[in-house]
Amino acid sequence: MISTLLRMEFAKIWRLTSVRFGLALLLVFPLLWAYAPGIFEVYGFFLVSGFQVPALSLLSSMQFLLPLLVAISAAELLGTEISNGTLPTILLRPVTRPNWLAAKLIVIAIYPFVMLLVFLLASLAAGIPFGFGGFFGGTGLGEAGLLGQGMLTPGAALGEVVRGYLLAALALVPIGMLALLFTVVFMNAAGGALATLASLIFMQLLVVFPAIEPFLLTTQLNAYAAPGSEVAWVVALIALYGALFAALAVVLFERKDF
């Protein structure tokens, strides 16, 4: 049964307007950074390697664009079922509510990884003119930032980029879960997405409380730059947020009237 539900959900998420728009945007977005004429004036550096384009793409989109795309898609995945009226129709079949929602949660958890894979490939493609050989400097996703600590081999650079994108994708998972939770609460996609964004903006304001800042969900959006010694802690915190939002969504969904 769960495999049937997962197949359904994968087919559904691919058909969502927000997903198609988001993926198309992520294909084009790296080109802006790779060929931005004012990059030196604004940031004070020149791109010296194609491995730096993925970092620029991620740094410029992780605080707002990518969370926005994930939140909207997650909210739309449930919201369209509510607006189309297919939600009660499917729940009349011998499918338990937790199983049905779990299939959506799994797909939403996988989506950021697919999204960032597309983003990474598009960024690397945009970096082709800069070359992918060894270079002096950093990728922007390692501990030494874009300045680096000397010569970086292509293998090490690719490793930093892949690691950064994996951590970034992981950090976006709880945002998808939060959007689904709010969609369960408000029973519409717009309400779910807007409440998620409002929550993220609110959390970003909470940096004025330094004691709680390391624990905020929005702080984890910088996970891609986490030093090696902190990765386990960051991953655990992200997993905790994801599990908490997912569990709350399931509990509320189980008691909803349709």
């Binding site: 049937t4 058909r15 009226g85 297919t86 009660p88 129709t89 009349l92 079949r93 011998p94």
Partner: protein, 320 residues
């Protein structure tokens, strides 16, 4: 006694201080068609959703084939339902693909069944078109096709014929009637009183979430009325013959009775003649559900508000 296909006991649903279904108890047995009728906002859709397990009762309970559909989701394998008007499907999938999806979620159906229900609902020509381009009536028919796909023992339908043309309406009602004849218990809400009266077993009239009357249409269809020379004596004579007549009463200036079989009608005349009661005229008692419904709802509103109904011309005098 056999387990009812649908059993609801003291079913109540409230939202805050507003009670939308109040203490509603009913049974639907296999092979019965039970209709919920009532004005808009009477609570019909809420009852349907409570019975289908989509909403949770505030108090009371619902059983489908003896099981709580919330606690035992597997009982929904025996349930077919249409709870949205128009019936809801994925618009980017074809009619056939939507039915295949429903079949997969139900654990599968036998080979050829999807084509069979598409043909039955006269949708085979449109089966490979996306549902997004279906008309309202086609979507409703696809809804009924999905509901009967798994040959369920229980069918629950909320306004299954809403927005349909007369031919589609007739098709849907004939499919429901046939399902009931094959032993399926059917619960439906509807405003189509004329169609309902032709084949429903019982009708529940709801007003403001309260069951104000339950009419046994099976008995109603089998009733006869007579003008006789002596009403009281005629009723006594028929009541003394339970092997011929199951029910005899006086309604206005007529004697109304239900014969055990139509073959007994001749014997009924004989019994009355033997009692010295002359039969002046005998007719089948055509039940006007529309008029009866109007009268019962008006009377209930008058009772609740204390304002007398404007007219009362049905001739039923409030008696079921």
């Amino acid at each position: 006694m056999a387990t009812p296909a649908i059993a609801s006991d003291a079913l109540t649903k409230s939202y805050g201080t507003r009670t939308v279904v109040d203490d509603f108890t009913f049974r639907v047995n296999p092979g019965e068609v039970y209709a919920l009728v009532g004005p808009n906002g009477a609570g019909k859709t809420t009852v349907i959703r409570l019975v289908a397990g989509l909403a949770f009762p505030t108090s009371g309970e619902v059983r489908i084939l003896g099981e709580d559909p919330q606690q035992t989701p597997s009982v929904r394998r025996e349930l077919g339902a249409v709870v949205e008007a128009p019936a809801a499907f994925y618009p980017y999938l074809t009619g056939r693909a939507n039915l295949r999806l429903h079949a997969d979620l139900a654990g599968g159906v036998e080979r050829g069944r999807i084509d069979e229900v598409l043909r039955l609902m006269e949708l085979h020509d449109a089966a490979d078109r996306k549902v997004g381009v279906y008309s309202l009536g086609m979507r409703q028919r696809l809804g009924v096709a999905a509901a009967i796909l798994t040959r369920p023992k229980v069918l629950i339908l909320d306004e299954p014929a809403s927005g349909m043309d007369p031919l589609s309406l007739h098709l849907v009602h004939s499919v429901l009637r046939k399902s009931a004849e094959e032993g399926t218990a059917v619960l439906l809400s509807t405003h189509h009183l004329d169609e309902v009266v032709a084949y429903c077993t019982r009708v529940a009239i709801l007003e403001e979430g309260v069951l104000i009357d339950e009419v046994n249409l099976f008995d109603r269809r089998e009733r006869f009325r007579m003008r006789v020379t002596d009403l009281s004596c005629g009723v006594r004579a028929l009541e003394a013959q339970p092997e011929l007549v199951t029910h005899a009463t006086i309604r206005g200036t007529e004697l109304v009775f239900i014969p055990r079989t139509h073959e007994d009608l001749g014997s009924v005349s004989g019994v009355l003649a033997a009692a010295g009661v002359g039969v002046l005229e005998m007719n089948r008692d055509v039940f006007d559900l529309r008029a009866y419904y109007r009268e019962r709802v008006s009377a209930e509103r008058a009772r609740r508000t204390g304002v007398a109904p404007a007219t009362n011309d049905s001739g039923y005098g409030g008696a079921a």
